[in-house]
Symmetry: C2
Subunit: 316 residues, 2 copies
Amino acid sequence: MYRKEIKVLDCTIRDGGLMNNHKFDDDQVRRVFRAVNDSGIDYIELGYKADEKQFKREDFGPMKFCSEKDLERIVGNTEKKCKISVMADIGRFDPNDVIPASESYVDMMRVASYVKDIDKAIDLTNTLKAKGYEMTINLMAVSHARERELDEALEQIEKESGVDVVYLVDSFGALYSEQIAYLAKKYKSILKTREIGIHTHNNQQLAFANTIEAIINNINYLDGTIFGIGRAAGNCPMELLLGFLKNPKFNIRPILQVLESDFIKLRQDIEWGYTIPYMITGILDVHPRAAMKLRQSENKDDYLSFFEKLTSEAEI
Amino acid sequence: MYRKEIKVLDCTIRDGGLMNNHKFDDDQVRRVFRAVNDSGIDYIELGYKADEKQFKREDFGPMKFCSEKDLERIVGNTEKKCKISVMADIGRFDPNDVIPASESYVDMMRVASYVKDIDKAIDLTNTLKAKGYEMTINLMAVSHARERELDEALEQIEKESGVDVVYLVDSFGALYSEQIAYLAKKYKSILKTREIGIHTHNNQQLAFANTIEAIINNINYLDGTIFGIGRAAGNCPMELLLGFLKNPKFNIRPILQVLESDFIKLRQDIEWGYTIPYMITGILDVHPRAAMKLRQSENKDDYLSFFEKLTSEAEI
């Protein structure tokens, strides 16, 4: 698949950071940054904008905060070919403190929002857009959204926001390709003047397949992570996505190299990816938090009782 | 997806046996057999028909041979609700030695064949069909078949064989869903009087997605294995397939139970599933043997040099 409008975003460090409170050391973040930068990937998302009055530095790694100084240590003297993205969560920082994009290492900010919070997301997006940042709204947990409310939120974004890209986010890894196709067509039909993006989770081993389905349906912004790292079952594996895309600007070799140097060890230290409890929450279309709790417990492989518990809760 | 014609075949013990020379103990095979039997799955494939003059008993587990005595030890007093399948490889046993289906535990035999060996496959299939067995031909490595030769083989099967089901087999885990859809339509259009089956490999994490694509394209015989066990990157995970199929006859619980009791331990003893070397052979559409050799070596995680080696070989 070669379509010049396609943009790939690597969120290895950002989504992976959800599994270890962003406690990557600077060297590791630098190695990932350089691999992504050399592979022709368009954007790298390194972490979050978070207010140091709300969150203590000592409880998290630097990429929870992504201050200019934090980013400077990562970029260093590297010639910056990919753009840098951070997530900007509603209420977790003061947008008035944000410096103009022209003075920042950050090129893009992404606002994650549930459908019900769309007014706040549009307001925050417009404030940051005025400072010169490329902006996205990532509509989370779309598998739980009521259809009429989703339609209204999309119409509101199209009318009221200056956002560049709206992401379809399968937070629970619950959607099948047919549903991705249906939603992609909906987003395209309502958001006539915006680009659409896709962010998938791998609970049912469909993160890559659903990203391909999104490409087929004219979605141009594609999220992936190296070795699929990310919360719970993780995300679309970047190595598979680069293997699929035929644009010669992409080069899989730097990704293979950092996989080899960093990700085998990392996977031994922190768990992510397909496991049966995450598969179960995916099939049941619920948040993975119960499965994450199970995986931290002594009963981490008690699949049947976990299934019985979740299905009997679902029946209430 | 509920279509009453859909039949699910579990080949956990057969395809998994390729990773350990079929050295499962009888107790383990019995636990898998009972789980599959209780879950509403239509067929279980336990192993191979292999000639004891060609292969020594002491080099393999019993499911390499699947004699009536071997199968009797597995079925025991269990009420047999699922049918039993074995693979019957061309030249590995004498079809004249096979007893009639009415006297055997075996209900179905599957003949794996490359397109070029289709004459032999049809001959073997017809001999065994005459003994009363349900028969399939599994056309391997279809991603390497020349299109005209594939068309001719399918026409020949339709005209000359008594086979019940013809399987589309993505041996190298190289096919994307669009290609599965294209081939499924081809198989359906030529094999007008036969059922079609699908057997996928998970090199690109597409085994489940491609099985769904096959279902959408009216393929009715679906192969899966518990936790995706199978050679190299493994197969379509049965637990995902049962989560997708809506026919109330299927029950995922016995599969979750045997996953818990047996497959976590088994995965520690033998390796299968998505790894970067298998991903690389999948993307390059080549046999996984080079990756299997790498995974047995000290350099099992040298991804970049493996990629460079395979791509420079491919250029010659």
